[in-house]
Amino acid sequence: MLDFLKSTVGRKYIMGITGLVWLGFVLTHMAGNMLILVSGDLYNAYGHAIVSNKPLLYVAESVLILSLCAHIFTAITLTIQNRKSRQSRYAITPNGSKGSSLASRTMAIQGSIVLAFIILHLITFKYGAEYTTNVNGVEMRDLHKLVLEVFKQPVYVAWYFVSLILLMFHLSHGAHSIFQSFGILERKMQKSLKKFAWIYAVIVVGGFLSQPLYVFLIHN
């Protein structure tokens, strides 16, 4: 199996499996965030519940970090190989029906920006200001206050939008190409698959983007 993991085909499986972990994560993360639309207290209680279960939290965090590292490492090795395989460029790039989508051609750039986003995002929220609040007698972190504070900064909101739109492209290409990488793509799925991937990506990113909109509309 070592040969398998080193092959171009095997590395696509690695990209796909680690990507799938994150596809699942961003979906649940988005779903949890939606609680902010219900109430600030509920949102805080949800965050509190997650950090309270330490063993589960550490397992989940390790899986996510390991997946991310494997995803990035494999992506780098593949990108280096791919650049080496095509060193000279054509004078003209096709833009008609024989071309490719911009999203699929720029996965590496999107990925790099999304990575920068993830790091900044952790600094801003996970390791950000520690406000506390009291929900039903339980002392907990006031994430709601932090969210309001952060999303009132126009520069942060602009960066958030740009990164998330890129994330949307990244997710949509990933969500449909894993079917090919994993070898479960069949002729009959081909048409609906792209749609499915886009619907998924739009729901996830739309959900996240509702956060700054919520802050803007309700708390301004």
Binding site: N82, R86, Y90, P94
Partner: protein
Amino acid sequence: MENKKNLNLTLKIWRQKNNQSKGEFKTYDAPNVSPDASFLEMVDVINESLVVKGEETIAFDHDCREGICGSCGFMIDGNAHGPQKGTTVCQLHMRNFSDGQTVTLEPWRAEAFPIIKDLMVDRSAFDRIIKAGGYISANTGGAPDANAVPIPKYDADEAFLSAACIGCGACVASCKNASAALFTSAKITHLALLPQGAVEKDQRALDMVAQMDSEQFGACTSTGTCSASCPKEISLINIAKMNREYLRASWTKKEAVHGGDMA
């Protein structure tokens, strides 16, 4: 029938003496081209005029000129085999172009396909992939009855679609990673679907993928340009099938067994 006027075109063609030399674009006029001429015929006419002038002709690969051999192929304005889908450049007609247009011709560009001269590239990396497993081992002897081995219609049709690959290299040329995934997978799929090829499918998948990886091809990133540029419109499901075959073959890789009654 539509009667289109003859065309006057300007061609920018990549000229390169050999693999070592540095190539460059040269501009040529193609006056009074019939819209019914094929693209290669149009280049033939330019070449004839070059012969008259005592200049070196433009080298390009071609053989059958009916879209079945896979010899021809170059980039026309960045599109492998030109703008029309599902067509080899030998089957491309000049009616797809308009009067006064400037058309740019470039060879396939990929490290695995070194340029031999002008628009000709060396595609022997493909031959080596085929040699690694793109065949069935048939012993000689009496020809078996054609109907003795039943093949489901669905499999026969899918195998036929994969077998349509003519190995022209457009997939590699159009892929930003110069990946040979579509070519290799078409061969693996075509043979794996048929009972004659199925017996060796595991070893074939292992060997052909290994050979593909040992050449200077890149990896597939699912951009889909290969299938879009393919003159035979080979589907991306072939790549999925290759990945699955390769995973299964790696996972169930057999080891030689000894002992027991075999002793």
